[in-house]
Amino acid sequence: MDGSGPVIPNFGRGDSCVTSDRTFCWGWVHDHWGDTLGPALWQHVELTAIAVVIGFAIAFPLALLAHRFRRLEQPFGAISALVYTVPSLALFQLLIPITGLTLTTVEIALVGYTLVMLFPNIVAGLRSASDDVIEAARGMGLTRAQILVRIELPLAVPAIIAGLRIAVVSTVAIATIAGINVTSKGLGYPIFTALRDPTPFKTEIYSAGLLAVALAISADLLLVALRRAVVPWTRAAR
């Protein structure tokens, strides 16, 4: 390595593409999948999955309560929307004094953001059963619990999956920011380490960024497939 090329931190071996920092070097991606990109991708899946699962576990019972007691919908909705209005960088900074530079800080923020996407969608889904469907169900002697379990919940599935799609895609994006300023986990971290250099190494930024996009798209497609599998009635056309 001569002294004229960019300094590539921590990545000893470099071919000419790497040393002259061309736009995208497949060789680098190949060499560092095992020690950098692969683990970052897996950590990113974990960050996202934990946030969406916990977010859903909170949003779902709140939505059931709001469905049953309509007065609660507005306060719940307002609180979840309020969290969303705080910029993610600022929210991380707010939490660091309390929970430190930890995974907990990241997940608290990520979970907070999923609520605003999940809660209103679940509530809307539970209300998507039309009045005549509910009247017919009552008239036939279904109890309130049976109407919820047999009618309202199945009919809410398309809206719930729509909410999950938005939540997953945006959590993938926001988790990247978490990797930049809070934790060393996820696809944000390689981007952060590259950016920290006076002459940022392009391939590292692009490969991590593209992986985040690919992850978001794959997760979205999985949810679309799930919807097709569990909601057969909307596909049935005349």
Binding site: S130, D132, V133, I134, E135, A136, A137, R138, G139, M140, G141, L142, T143, Q146, R150, I151, P154, L155, V231, P232, W233, T234, A236, A237, R238
Partner: protein, 318 residues
Amino acid sequence: MPEAAEIVFDHVTKKYAGRDAAAVDDLSLEIPAGTFCVLVGPSGGGKTTALKMVNRLIPFDSGEIRIDGRNIEALPLTELRRGIGYVIQQIGLFPHMTIGENIATVPRLLGWDKQRQRARAVELLELVGLDASDAKRYPSQLSGGQRQRVGLARALAADPPLLLMDEPFGALDPITRHRLQTELRRLHRDVGKTIIFVTHDIDEAIQMGDRIAILREGGVLAQYDTPDAILAEPADDFVAKFIGEDRALRRLALRTVGEVPLEVPGTAFAAPDHWVASETTVRNAVSLMLELNADSLAVKDGDRFVGTFNLRDVSTLL
């Protein structure tokens, strides 16, 4: 479960909060078991309110409703409703369930086994004129008329002794509506349930009902009788106006020429176009005579000449 139930409204009154006029005002009505009873009247007459009181979708303020002598308020709510077939204009099929699952709703609530549920669904699909293979389809794949047939099948699923029908054919096109009206009459003859049927259409009421209850604004019962008796003797001006000035012709539509006394000479000397079948309504026979400028028509039952129907005898039928 009995085949049909007797329903009694005993001085039932309902007032909605914030309104002065009652929705249903001191309604007393006895509907014998097996009767096809039509509640008819202008909007604001409380007919739908009265109907929905029977399965307690709408609570009432005073009075009592009894099914086969039992006060409906003394029965557990779900038990009451599972024993009453309920059909509404908007049908309310469950969009996420197949037709078969929709029909089996109440049997499933009653804990029938799967095989019995399926067998019953197929039986009912055939009863309402659909195909057994339709059981696997979803409501969105059916036409409006087919959906209402499913709605009817679903209401009949657990063989309830009483059917409540709230303007069931109101959203259908005239041809489909007429076909379903005819089939519901046939079905009523075959299954012998008590039916309470709400409509705002007096023609439908006259065609469908064994008995008609006419409710006027404020939920007051104006008249309760057979269609023929109401057309012959409307109780007051309101009823007379509601049933229309052509009530004499409407009465003639209730009877066929086969049911009225005919003049019976040995042979018929009638031109080929002066013959009518015995199941022709008197109204249509009169219309034909006016059109042909004829005084009489020959009536045949199948190929057999049964008598002569004379225009001059029509007024004796009224």
